[in-house]
């Protein structure tokens, strides 16, 4: 067992960190406005939009653990967690299933565009009446010669207002339950696709999210991902990558937050001494460090299992629970360390909490992850 990063991993982490700091790390990035195409292009130039895409299509060809390390560096150096989340969702929930399930020319065309940053992708799975339960999708896809006709509404699709392509899931065989779902990559230019207004959200403001509407939308068969009825497997595969790798974004956030808290505890003086000399403060920060490091180990292990093609369901679930809960707990502690300043939007500390809360909801709610763990224990 070796817990050290390799020299190559360390170099890559440092390079991403330095380039993101230079291009996407300025104070202006504290904005909670949706990302711009210019910012997206900057992320693409650093290689972040194609980390785990095949090198032949302009990607980095990285595995899950190396992808997670880069996303951690991105999350640490860029204060706009919404942008970091948007890039990670594009990569893991959309590009990964296209990489592993699309065929022919469509695969190459989409992967090249997604890796280069020319195309932005959104994952449109959730519906108003279907969040955790994948077997009850209201969006339907009826087969016609040469393709399918999609009809229905999706919701909570991250990146949707800005996206060029939607990875979506529709019912093709209602009686077959979870094996009656089929996955598609739908270009925004397909007739019958529309998006709603961006949602007003609690956090992750840099990532616009909204509804995706399919109105008798014709999609060629070439844009189906995997076989008909294989949509649940496609989705679960992409979610294993998202639950595993995407949460490294929060490791980066917590690392940055921890540094801010240490600096605050050293420089803020009360009763004639630095507040870090009070055990109540220093132990709170020690607790933040302990939660961060515990969560990091679980995440690295989950990604390592994913890379090895080994059983990863329980490890990924444990990792997601640990990281998402640590991010919320550490963000509350950071506000406490900063006191009144932590409560002000101008300091950028309370934003960590608002950006962290959704981590317990998206990519499979914490309650579902605990269910995965419980089933694995035979309960």
């Amino acid at each position: 067992m070796d817990f050290d990063l390799t020299d190559e991993q360390r170099c890559r982490y440092d390079r991403v960190s330095a380039e993101v700091t230079q291009q996407l790390g300025g104070p202006g990035m504290l904005s909670e406005l949706p990302f711009t195409r210019t910012q997206w292009k900057s992320a693409a130039q650093i290689g972040l939009t194609g980390l785990c895409m095949p090198a032949e299509y302009g990607g980095g060809g990285l595995g899950a653990l190396d992808t997670a390390l880069c996303l951690e560096a991105f999350g640490r150096a860029c204060p706009n967690t919404g942008l970091v989340f948007a890039v990670a969702a594009h990569l893991l929930a959309c590009a990964v299933p296209i990489r592993d399930f699309a065929d022919g020319d469509v695969r190459g065309e989409l992967l090249s565009g997604l890796a280069s940053g020319e195309l932005i992708a959104a994952n449109a799975m959730t519906e108003d009446e279907a969040g955790s339960d994948l077997s009850r999708l209201g969006v339907t896809a009826e087969q016609e010669p040469g393709g399918y006709v999609l009809h229905g509404d999706k919701s909570f699709a991250s990146n949707a207002p800005a996206a060029d392509v939607f990875v979506t899931y529709a019912t093709t065989a209602p009686a077959a339950g979870f094996l009656g779902i089929t996955a598609f990559a739908v270009p925004r230019t397909a007739p019958g696709v529309a998006t709603g207004e961006p949602f007003e959200k609690m956090g992750l403001g840099g990532c616009p999210a909204g509804r995706v509407l399919f109105r008798h939308c014709r999609v060629p068969e070439t844009h189906r991902l995997g076989r008909e009825g294989q949509g649940t497997a496609v989705f679960q595969h992409s979610m294993a990558w998202e639950r595993g790798c995407l949460f490294a974004v929060y490791l980066g956030l917590m690392e940055r937050q921890l540094q801010q808290c240490v600096e605050r505890a050293r420089t803020r003086r009360q009763f004639g001494r630095a507040i870090g000399e009070f055990q109540a403060v220093s132990h709170r920060i020690a607790g933040m460090k302990q939660r961060l490091e515990s969560a990091r180990l679980l995440l690295y292990r989950a990604c390592w299992l994913l890379d090895g093609g080994r059983d990863h369901n329980e490890a990924v679930a444990l990792s997601k629970i640990a990281v998402s809960e640590a991010a919320v707990a550490n963000s509350l502690d950071a506000i406490q360390v900063f006191g009144g300043d932590g409560y002000l939007r101008s300091a950028g500390i309370e934003q960590h909490l608002r950006d962290s809360v959704p981590g317990g909801i998206f990519s499979g709610a914490t309650d579902i992850q605990r269910e995965v763990v419980a089933r694995g224990l035979g309960l």
Partner: protein, 83 residues
Amino acid sequence: MPDQEMTKRIAEYIREKFLDGDPQGELQDTSPLLEWGVLNSLRVAQLIGFLREEFGVVVPPREIHADNLRDVRSITAMVARLA
């Protein structure tokens, strides 16, 4: 491992884990697991884990579809093909 032995072990696993031991002895090699609702998405993930642990077979995501999960016989055929 002979297919017969593989079939027996897969059926035992399904009986024990998903059918409370199958006290009525209803599960046959051709029982429609999907139509009966025996397999859902969480259980498929558990079953895939079992196949890897028991037979050392990694089932790629592309292989997870109705034709390969229809019944115990289909699952056995998939494992034999991937082994």
